[in-house]
Symmetry: C2
Subunit: 233 residues, 2 copies
């Protein structure tokens, strides 16, 4: 079966967490909007006949199944492709970490859109500077302290075996590095375990091949992790 991933074609965004899982799983998938433009995606989102549409991209078509919400898609792919523990405590633990990573992603987004998604960054710059200051000083260390602590001496969050939450952690670290290189340079040495995990993910053969391919979309200023130098100091 070939999966169909529906997501904005020009940004890594939330779709990237799904792409990383599909790539690590070695799954067959079509990144639909990159191949065919966004029309089919918009049709599925707006289709009155669709019984279980998503509120927003990303969503994944898996045969007759249509699944939305990033963490939910990963829960599904994790079960199907061995990217999550099978035991009850491990299964819920990894999903808990994923949802906490989703909170980081939302805050990274709100850094440049504190007033709302309906207006441009350029129209909310002073507010963004205030919000970014708190994100840099308080929130990033709080989140990274947490993830460093729960990783502990484990190779990956669930122990020896990689899960979708490790892939997402890698992407969050990469995103923060892109958005806030100055701040992250100060912080990275405080999180040696997370940095090692990130490195481990990066070097996995399928991930390494993916990152070197044209399928990987670079971070940019239309996405969630944006580099605006004025928000980095």
């Amino acid at each position: 079966m070939t999966y169909e991933l529906y997501y904005w074609p020009m940004i890594p965004g939330r779709g990237e967490f799904v792409r990383l899982a599909l790539e690590e799983a070695g799954a067959d998938y079509i990144d639909v909007a990159r191949r065919d433009g966004i029309a089919p995606m918009m049709k599925l989102l707006g289709d009155e006949k669709s019984a279980r549409p998503s509120f927003a991209p990303p969503f994944l078509k898996a045969g007759r199944l249509m699944i939305g919400q990033t963490a939910n898609i990963l829960l599904f792919l994790g079960e199907r492709h061995g990217l999550a523990p099978k035991d009850t405590p491990g299964r819920f633990w990894i999903h808990q970490l994923q949802l906490t990573l989703a909170d980081v992603v939302a805050e990274a987004h709100d850094m440049h859109h504190p007033i709302g998604v309906g207006s441009y960054y350029e129209d909310q710059k002073p507010e963004s500077k205030r919000r970014a200051a708190e994100f840099r000083r308080e929130r990033i260390p709080k989140f990274l302290n947490y993830f460093e602590r729960v990783l502990g001496k484990n190779r990956y969050f669930a122990g020896q075996k990689l899960t979708y939450a490790d892939l997402s952690m890698f992407q969050v670290i990469e995103g923060l590095r892109y958005a806030l290189p100055h701040r992250m340079k100060q912080l990275e040495k405080k999180y040696p375990k997370l940095m090692a995990l990130s490195q481990r993910v990066k070097q996995r053969p399928r991930i390494a091949a993916y990152l070197a391919s044209s399928r990987r979309i670079s971070f940019n200023e239309d996405g969630i992790f944006r580099h605006y130098p004025e928000l980095d100091s």
Copy 2:
């Protein structure tokens, strides 16, 4: 087994979504911080020896299992207490709706904290007014349109049988009504199906008994759904 729920004792907040599920399930539970204060909760959050701590409340202790993140706790309780479909499509669909409701909750919170959680509402009032305008005009209708549409002719989101997402939808509607009574009065008539679902939830015997009890905490201005008249017009 008696569950232990850990959440801030003075607000409905995110803990309320868990309380509603526990009440509907008729589960035995202790709302720990309401009985013993927040010290035990803070200890569990900060305990270096705890292998799988939560980043923030709410979290639930179920025997030796400790589970955090609201939607994740509901996923767990849903499986255990028949508050979610058992089939794969239904299971992921209900979780998808829950995560979309979590997005509404986050936006309802950010309405009065657009600049960040580190400063008071009083220190971000002009920004809150701007953010609230977009939330009222654009975001609430967009979310409610979506939920009304996916509910369709069903009694509950999954069909005939109540799930945790229906309980959460009820709480979100109650929260929006409390926070933005003026705006919700304009909007409610556009969403007859959601209003009927909400009424159905409210009248379930266990929920009705809970709402009439002292266990139910009223909405207030320390919580997520806050009523600031200046944000409602």
